[in-house]
Point group: D4
Chain length 253, copies 8
Amino acid sequence: MEAREILTRFKKNEITLEEAEHYFRKEPFEKMGGYAKLDSHREVRSGFPEVIFCSGKADEHFVHIFQKLYEDNGEVFGTRASRHQYELVKDLLPGVEYDDLSHIIKIEKKHKEHIGKIAVCTAGTADIPVAEEAAQTAEYFGTRVERIFDVGVSGIHRLFSRLEVIQEANCVVAVAGMEGALASVLGGLVDKPVIAVPTSVGYGASMHGLSALLTMINSCANGIAVVNIDNGYGAGYIATQINRLAVRENQEQ
Amino acid sequence: MEAREILTRFKKNEITLEEAEHYFRKEPFEKMGGYAKLDSHREVRSGFPEVIFCSGKADEHFVHIFQKLYEDNGEVFGTRASRHQYELVKDLLPGVEYDDLSHIIKIEKKHKEHIGKIAVCTAGTADIPVAEEAAQTAEYFGTRVERIFDVGVSGIHRLFSRLEVIQEANCVVAVAGMEGALASVLGGLVDKPVIAVPTSVGYGASMHGLSALLTMINSCANGIAVVNIDNGYGAGYIATQINRLAVRENQEQ
Amino acid sequence: MEAREILTRFKKNEITLEEAEHYFRKEPFEKMGGYAKLDSHREVRSGFPEVIFCSGKADEHFVHIFQKLYEDNGEVFGTRASRHQYELVKDLLPGVEYDDLSHIIKIEKKHKEHIGKIAVCTAGTADIPVAEEAAQTAEYFGTRVERIFDVGVSGIHRLFSRLEVIQEANCVVAVAGMEGALASVLGGLVDKPVIAVPTSVGYGASMHGLSALLTMINSCANGIAVVNIDNGYGAGYIATQINRLAVRENQEQ
Amino acid sequence: MEAREILTRFKKNEITLEEAEHYFRKEPFEKMGGYAKLDSHREVRSGFPEVIFCSGKADEHFVHIFQKLYEDNGEVFGTRASRHQYELVKDLLPGVEYDDLSHIIKIEKKHKEHIGKIAVCTAGTADIPVAEEAAQTAEYFGTRVERIFDVGVSGIHRLFSRLEVIQEANCVVAVAGMEGALASVLGGLVDKPVIAVPTSVGYGASMHGLSALLTMINSCANGIAVVNIDNGYGAGYIATQINRLAVRENQEQ
Amino acid sequence: MEAREILTRFKKNEITLEEAEHYFRKEPFEKMGGYAKLDSHREVRSGFPEVIFCSGKADEHFVHIFQKLYEDNGEVFGTRASRHQYELVKDLLPGVEYDDLSHIIKIEKKHKEHIGKIAVCTAGTADIPVAEEAAQTAEYFGTRVERIFDVGVSGIHRLFSRLEVIQEANCVVAVAGMEGALASVLGGLVDKPVIAVPTSVGYGASMHGLSALLTMINSCANGIAVVNIDNGYGAGYIATQINRLAVRENQEQ
Amino acid sequence: MEAREILTRFKKNEITLEEAEHYFRKEPFEKMGGYAKLDSHREVRSGFPEVIFCSGKADEHFVHIFQKLYEDNGEVFGTRASRHQYELVKDLLPGVEYDDLSHIIKIEKKHKEHIGKIAVCTAGTADIPVAEEAAQTAEYFGTRVERIFDVGVSGIHRLFSRLEVIQEANCVVAVAGMEGALASVLGGLVDKPVIAVPTSVGYGASMHGLSALLTMINSCANGIAVVNIDNGYGAGYIATQINRLAVRENQEQ
Amino acid sequence: MEAREILTRFKKNEITLEEAEHYFRKEPFEKMGGYAKLDSHREVRSGFPEVIFCSGKADEHFVHIFQKLYEDNGEVFGTRASRHQYELVKDLLPGVEYDDLSHIIKIEKKHKEHIGKIAVCTAGTADIPVAEEAAQTAEYFGTRVERIFDVGVSGIHRLFSRLEVIQEANCVVAVAGMEGALASVLGGLVDKPVIAVPTSVGYGASMHGLSALLTMINSCANGIAVVNIDNGYGAGYIATQINRLAVRENQEQ
Amino acid sequence: MEAREILTRFKKNEITLEEAEHYFRKEPFEKMGGYAKLDSHREVRSGFPEVIFCSGKADEHFVHIFQKLYEDNGEVFGTRASRHQYELVKDLLPGVEYDDLSHIIKIEKKHKEHIGKIAVCTAGTADIPVAEEAAQTAEYFGTRVERIFDVGVSGIHRLFSRLEVIQEANCVVAVAGMEGALASVLGGLVDKPVIAVPTSVGYGASMHGLSALLTMINSCANGIAVVNIDNGYGAGYIATQINRLAVRENQEQ
């Protein structure tokens, strides 16, 4: 609703002073004991519900937020959760699922529809936890996901054998550690955006993923953009945004 | 065409041995005196014609490639061109245009249609050259572009006054140097992908754009992915890919 | 007292040779068994009593220093204390308080007056431990503190809803990890000094707070200065210095 | 004016719909041909007029902005100006002054009052250009400045001989390159905030000021906060904010 | 000759005291006016004649050394030479050749035999100067070189079209800037050693070749080792060593 | 077999459509439950069987892959294995050997022939684990290895006493941490390729091996190429490639 | 003995062939089971006995080397030893002493004379472990050591009160973490060499001592040279070398 | 003179109030127009006259300081001078000498005695400018200097042929760029302190000397301390301090 509309309706007494004031001074979030401000307008604003970055949260805070979001939305999704955090809520909210590989904790509505398609590729098997975070994030947000794992450039025929599937996706997520060359090769082979996720897989001069990040940022291929090291969630999120654009009702050009 | 089709048609003598062999051994590029291999299949493969990264090219090579691409496509587009390079070709190919701000050199077909919409935002005026590279790249590839410049976070009301325009875009390109905080703020305000472009604008600990790159990679906001420092071209390219997904014929979900 | 006064009074026999000599050769600190030199003149010189940086101190040294400072001042304040260190002194000095969140250990005089006002803001909930170190440090030194937590730039309306409170403060402490953009946004919205505290919250390319530090140092906004990563104590200290300047008896201009 | 007041006055027809709408949708800046948005509300909001960061501005833009700000405020101040930029405006606006040392260009009102006091100290003579940027910035904003140059720690008696003057200041700006140790020593000797400015003076492992920046950020002394390398302007700005707090009408505590 | 042999022959008066002493105290280099020590035994010891790293040499020294090596060996080879240095010697030694692309200056014996085969590959055309330094170095040392330029991973079909030629080489030199992914892809496709040469081609976060270096060092493929950024000479040298091993008279196993 | 041959034979009905199609679409790897793609054509393509990088593999995956490779090849080799991983397979496959020093786990065929010779040198005793990984890798691949440990440059006579042995090798692996100077000294003393392996041995500014890596990359000596920090496996692999070239049937030149 | 003398005496049969050969081929070290080469000529060559860097040594190797050096020299000295290593030898060699603070393990001859004087200064109490390593190393090598701890620049009067003692030393060791400014201040106050030891004490941007190292390397004061982070042993060693030069029999000039 | 003596003599009227006050408040430096404070007590305090770091000084300041120091001391010494600066003073002070290699400008007293001995070694010829700065600095301060150039580790026999000369020195200055391994090798061969000077000679990953600095700081050899990159002056200074200790009248032990 536009400011002008609010003002006009207020003048006409269709809304009260309090309602009009609220519009301009509103606090679209819920305070939780001072330590957090849940963003309850987020789904309206961005099309995505708020999720929980579980790592580092105090036990009490985690449980409180997890329950509150579940109550509000009928489902809830947390990343980087520990098994300990799972133990905290599994008896309170029986439908909680925890995945040891991706460290995702969630209660998800049944029979969720998944639309469009993205491809999530990894260079090696050690990159799979990050790839699963990306894939499950995208799925939670309603995206259909194709997983193509262990197709790194040191044996490039493995990638070519799956190329057709990859080329059908609206967005490709390229997850790779060590030297991270997978993103460049993919960028040259598809005509859709590639979201590159460097991982901390590697040793020595990989510097916990910084080398892979630099590789991806400097890619000679086009159509590549990069998210933070190990940030599967961020990749799944932006891939979902792109996928939604591709499948929504056609815009006028 | 699929391998099976080729083989079948070859068996039926619909195509010759040479044609079949060519399919499997084809070199979809043109060699130019050994120094370059123009990617003549690129437009088919990726939907984008080949462009020229002019910086560092020898004069002779630059002129040769520029002419060749113009002959093939009826238009040609080069980034990071110097005025000297413009002098080299302006008499050979009279329609050449050169832009001192963005360092783009091009001959562009008339009456090109621009579809969809992306927004290109800058934090300051010094970021405009990179933003123009992004905007003009996207326009060359057929994208409608909205420019919103000088809306950095140090005077955040300037950004809010243009927010509606930004929110209508299919993709937002956020161009910022110094501390690069613009991308995070935009990420929290729009529901479309934000492509962040760090620039080398700044001094001291900005380290020629590395600080802005780190800011953007570490963003606490969602829906942000990052390209290389000053890489306006890369941002315009991926924004065009995203915009095309949004305006193409609706997929089945 | 000036050197000339000392000399004059010494000449007049108002002070003895020993007293005069003491003035010029004084050791304004107390040696503690060779391993430390407590700065007993500090409060006179700087207006702040000596505090203890507890981390890494040997048990015996910690207990000894903690007791000595309590005896001298009737109160004592330590940062980065472990629960183990609390156990060491809690029975010796019954009034000891320990805060698990900020890792502050202290015995504080009752009914301390708090003057002026500073605002301590955080981007997220994970930044609260550092913010509490800043806030409690400032309070121990007699400053009134307003806490505004979880107002990071990814949901910037949360910040705007508290802006008036922030703008009333004499100094704003901005505590943020990840990309640390909060400081820049605050710098553009208030007319008082902003002390920026990068935190080690984040992962991947946040490099344990170095990215946030670089963001803050490169801020495009004015009126921002930065302290070390996670250095809540340092921020609380300098904010107190600024607050004291604002509330002291008015200087002649 | 508060939102509630606006709404009430609008309801009473004391202000028109357009005026009320304007309040909520106002653009408190002037657009200059699309390339810049001068922040005409800045002085009201922050107490400081807008200044020009001249480096990198196109000639036409520089001249335009310089003139516009002069017309609006009757004075104008630019940092990091080149002699070339001075040549551009010196005939248009005859009162323009340019300082080769600090690279400041300005037209300043006569008989400006300077209040309070800050001290600007340098470690060596090579740090003076940055120190002058800080000092002249503060003076332009109405601060009285004491300059204490060439008092670095390698001959520490030079610092002690000026200590009383430094201790009288409301804020100390410590400008140092190479290893930057001056800030730590000053922090231990004064009871007012020290704003540390690392400079790019040095060679080899000084890494263009990064080493001095790290020294200052890690200082073992209290009451120190740091701005960007060579950012004299930023130091002069925040020192002025602190000085103003010290000399304004006394707050109630 | 072994120490024992020398001693025995000396005892038998087959060699003189001076000869024996010379053996143990020999200075297998020629002093040139104190500023350099030409390694005249180098060819015996390593199988490679001494070459000149021309960059940074004083004019007088460069001319002197160039002439001396030519006199001793009948040919001479210098890397990173400037056109100015070429001017200095072209009239003194008429057979001198200078290559503007690779910055190599040389007088080379006619009809030199080239044995075995190495492949020198580049990702882009901008990498060719470094590749030529590698290729011409190897050729000077008697290696047959196959050049395969502009086969970077962003259009990987260009590489596959030349793969058979590459696979026949005894050693592959992979020259690439930007993200440097070519080395990894080659490592997965050939069964011979790959010597990777990062180049300073790129911009932004390429950090003058450091990113490409990190990519190559962290390669997930086997059989790759890396030399310094832009070190074509070093790659040509070690590739020659490997090629010589492959073509020399067969060892007993 | 060449594409032309396949096509000709297919036309002549010597091979079926499926066989021909398979040639062009083949997947030369075995999928293992989606999480890995074993490269079963690797030995044919590269002359080396696939080995296991054990670190970070899930227990179930590790056991599965270890067994599969053993079944296929009659032997199996894993690097960076933990004692825990050894416990997992030692009862399943009784011939498994585990080496606590090099962290290698393997089942190796008896009476393997070792050909040629490489030398593996270390600077100190703390570098031995990495050196053993290199040596045992090379031995597994059929290379004869000479170990020369603890010959670092701080007592350079130790190196000279073993120089003749080193000079007889076809390739020298130089393993060193701290400042990594061993590689440079070796490079000047032998006429064969030196593969330098920086190790993470050291403290302080060694930065976990980065300093040694930089030393080796910048070596002033010729004939040196570098692998990743602690990458003994990579060094043993490429040294084996070089050694094989030296001992194979003599090529025509 | 000179080579010429050896040869002459050998010719005269004053020494045998074996003795002469031994001179030229000698191995001045003892091999210990292949894993180490104890440098038994070290004391003759350098004036210092070999010491043990205990960290990372296998138990068996540590015990073996510790015993061997004790047997050879009647005393033995190890740095960076763990309490576990002390347990290993304390019953075998009853005179062993272990210091938890400096992590030094040793058996030292009684009544060792200490000559000359060096001063070992620390900035804080947390730097004492490194300072003790320096001091005890120097004492083991026969140097008289003055300890001056906790005299950092944040309370510089503590340093001045001990300045006379420091100025009497032949060499000053300056041990400091955090910003490491102590070295610069000392360098300006004494006329003897200052050996600066950065420590890993600090947090945040101290980067485990790298910041302090950079501060010390960039010092604006003269007469300062730097050793590795936490390298107390190295500082004690070179300080002893300098002290010995100062107290030895006077050279002719 | 001690404080007590001053006070006693003052009481006895042997010195006036002004004299006594002067003692405690003295300014042992001369102010030069506010921009510099020449340290006229330096020679007394440190045994070294003040020298000029010419780089970056304004012309007027340079000339003024150069003349003032010449007048005070009868000689003057400046480092990092440009030929332009030489032009400025060569006519004013006819005895001025300028050395294009070391960039030293000086007027030196005739027949200066040089005592003791230091050795200045370089790895290559490109390191000579830094080595000459070290050597000429030491000579200006009265040290006898032996130059041993171009003895880098890639041809280590060159070093061994000069070893005896090096071993006779009281202090060895090791000047090396690229990988900087010379310092480690020298540290293992001499029993005197080695002052290591990394140089910016190199390219690629040498990072302007940072790699050589890291090599030297991490040296596995003992008796090495490091100064800043290209800091020949600093090395010559501390080497002179050490040499003076070695040749002065013998201390009592």
